[in-house]
């Protein structure tokens, strides 16, 4: 078993970053729950993780010449607008209950990724110390 330091945690490290980003997006949805015209957004987790892990089913568009628009450069690619179940009259599409449950689920997912990483660290520590300390 070989362990390279940049891949110890596998997909958990980018997943953790993505859960974190998603929690930020949902937090801003909740903060703007009463802002007129605000459109709720969410991270397309599958697409974002595929992009990070390089396992995307779609081939990335290349931009060979300078000045050509790089289709992969925008960091908001993975952000989608939520389809509102009960749109309100002021154009706000935040559904508080939906956002709350999404935030709660996201928190649990974040903690799950965190425990996987923690378990890896403890395994490595056990291997290093031989269980003596």
């Amino acid at each position: 078993m070989t362990i390279t330091t940049d891949n110890v945690f596998g997909l958990n490290a980018p997943a953790l970053a993505l859960w974190q980003r998603r929690s930020e997006v949902i937090a801003s949805n909740l903060a703007n729950a009463d802002t007129p015209g605000y459109q709720a957004r969410d991270v397309d987790f599958r697409a974002a993780l595929q992009q990070v892990s390089g396992e995307s089913g779609q081939l990335a568009m290349s931009a060979p010449t300078a000045g050509q628009i790089d289709a992969t450069s925008t960091s908001t690619d993975d952000l989608k607008y939520r389809v509102p179940m009960q749109p309100s009259m002021d154009g706000n599409t935040v559904d508080t209950q939906v956002e709350q449950s999404a935030f709660a689920a996201n928190t649990v997912h974040y903690q799950a990724s965190l425990s996987f990483i923690n378990a890896t660290i403890q395994t490595l520590r056990l291997a290093i110390t031989g269980g003596t300390s």
Binding site: E24, S28, A31, A33, D34, R41, F103, I121
Partner: protein, 143 residues
């Protein structure tokens, strides 16, 4: 550590909602205020909220903050509802024709606003608590 951005976002939401609660309190307190002219009558104050990044860069720029938007208050507007006038010649505030001008505060609107504001405030507090918990757990990683 970008989990801390959530504190800014939720914090701006809490600030906005507490401003809204303040406005409701002011409107309700002045619901029965009277004055001697229509111009000086109390008009219900209303707040105008907007996402933080939308205004910095133009109209449709919710993208500007990469999906992260706090709330900001653009300004205070006054309700355009008609002002209640009453004929009370004995009132010391009455004008020459014996009319006093009340406020145009609608207590039902204000109560609804109050409930909505306090719920939203609680939501933001919950978000902040969860973010704090996650941040603390992340700090203790590997320990």
């Amino acid at each position: 550590m970008s989990l801390l951005k959530i504190f800014d976002t939720a914090g701006s939401g809490m600030a906005a909602q507490s401003l809204r609660l303040n406005t409701v309190a002011s409107n309700l307190a002045n619901a029965d205020s009277v004055s001697s002219s229509p111009d000086s009558a109390y008009r219900a104050k209303e707040l105008l909220f907007a996402p933080t990044h939308a205004v910095e860069a133009g109209a449709v720029t919710q993208d500007a903050g990469e999906g992260i938007n706090g709330v900001q208050m653009l300004g205070v507007t006054e309700s355009q509802q008609p002002i209640a006038t009453r004929y009370e010649p004995g009132n010391p505030m009455a004008d020459a024709s014996g009319t006093v001008y009340g406020s145009n505060v609608n207590p039902i609107d204000e109560l609804v606003n109050m409930i909505s504001a306090s719920r939203s405030y609680q939501n933001n507090v919950e978000v902040m608590n969860s973010a704090k918990e996650l941040a603390l757990k992340t700090i203790q990683l590997g320990g």
